[in-house]
């Protein structure tokens, strides 16, 4: 069953269809929010706000839009708001061990070291570059979808991704050089 069919079921009063939508999309939302905010707690809050806001607004979803893109347009705004809230609290982004743990893929020491360095490198990107890099290379959205999600133009987004890649490359190369 497609996302659009599930939305129709929700609007017809079938609440289980919303559970299905949550189970399809919550993990991707949580991943983006965690990488964006660098903090599991803030990421869960932003994702919850996103899904509840989406639920309230399902009647305005248009089937010709890809549901995931529509959902990410809400999520990106929630993450921006959360980042703003956090900057007011003057919390640091990178020193959150829980966030680093969520990058876990393998259990070897090398993998743990890599994920920690990657998290630090991502955290040092400018927020706009981090957002564009994650949407492009992690969530694998097209530039047209990214434009709809972020409100930025395609060429500006390409530039942000390019700058982010260059910055990530420099940071991760410096780390590997120091490790030798």
């Amino acid at each position: 069953m497609t996302d659009a069919m599930l939305v129709r079921r929700v609007l017809d009063g079938d609440s289980r269809a919303f559970t299905a939508l949550v189970d399809r999309h919550a993990a991707a939302c949580l991943r983006f929010a965690t990488r964006m905010l660098g903090n599991r707690e803030d990421a869960e809050d932003a994702t919850q706000e996103t899904l509840l806001r989406a639920y309230r607004s399902l009647g305005r979803y248009e089937e010709r839009d890809v549901f995931r893109t529509w959902l990410f347009s809400i999520l990106v705004n929630r993450c921006r708001t959360a980042a703003l809230r956090r900057s007011r609290r003057e919390r640091r982004l990178v020193h959150d061990d829980a966030a680093l743990d969520t990058l876990a893929v393998a259990s070897s020491a090398d993998a743990a070291e890599l994920r920690a360095e990657v998290a630090r490198a991502v955290a040092t990107l400018e927020p706009e570059q981090r957002e564009a890099f994650l949407l492009k290379h992690v969530e694998q959205l097209s530039y047209e979808e990214m434009a709809r999600v972020t409100g930025a133009g395609v060429s500006a987004l390409k530039m942000r991704v390019k700058r982010a890649c260059e910055r990530m490359h420099v940071l991760l190369t410096e780390v590997s050089d120091v490790g030798r």
């Binding site: 609007l11 399902l58 305005r60």
Partner: protein
Amino acid sequence: MSDADDVLDCDPMTPASLDGAVRALRADVPVRGEWRDALLREAAALPAPRRTTPVSRRVRRLGEFLRAARRPAWVLSPSAGVAAALLCAALGAGVAWGVMRRAESAAVPGDVAVASAPASGWAVPAVRFALTAPGASRVALVGDFNGWNPAATPLRASADGRTWSVALPLTPGRHVYAFVVDGSLTADPVAPRAADEDFGTPSSVIMVAESSP
């Protein structure tokens, strides 16, 4: 060639040097069962969503209208252009005369409300919308009060061409609106932004108070 031009026509794959980093970033973040259950409980406590006409649909229609408006649908011959210009001038003079007559009979100096303040002398409060847009050639006001129709409420430029404004009666309550500056939607820089921006629409909110007797 600028840096931006360099990347305009390319859609880069993940750079090889970042393969490992991207793989790590793509790893799943586990969804905690308690968090999922709490989310679904909160959703169940909300009113069931209903089908509505979304702002995004109205704005998309507006965008389609604006794009269509930019495309010339026909070409005017020089002689027909002169005739049309004369006709427009005559119509414009007539409209201006009518407006002046109406202004003489109805308008009181200073009766136009600024921002959300209600004005006296109107059946419903009049609100003055203004935007500083030097260099703009056409500015219009769109919102839920005029069906987001960019042809419905054009703004008039001040003598120096810097400030554009219009006053119109609005019913008391909350209204979402935006300006269309030379075909581009822009929010009011001095008003609160609308929550509907989650759908990518730059729009603002105005609260119109009940008119005092």
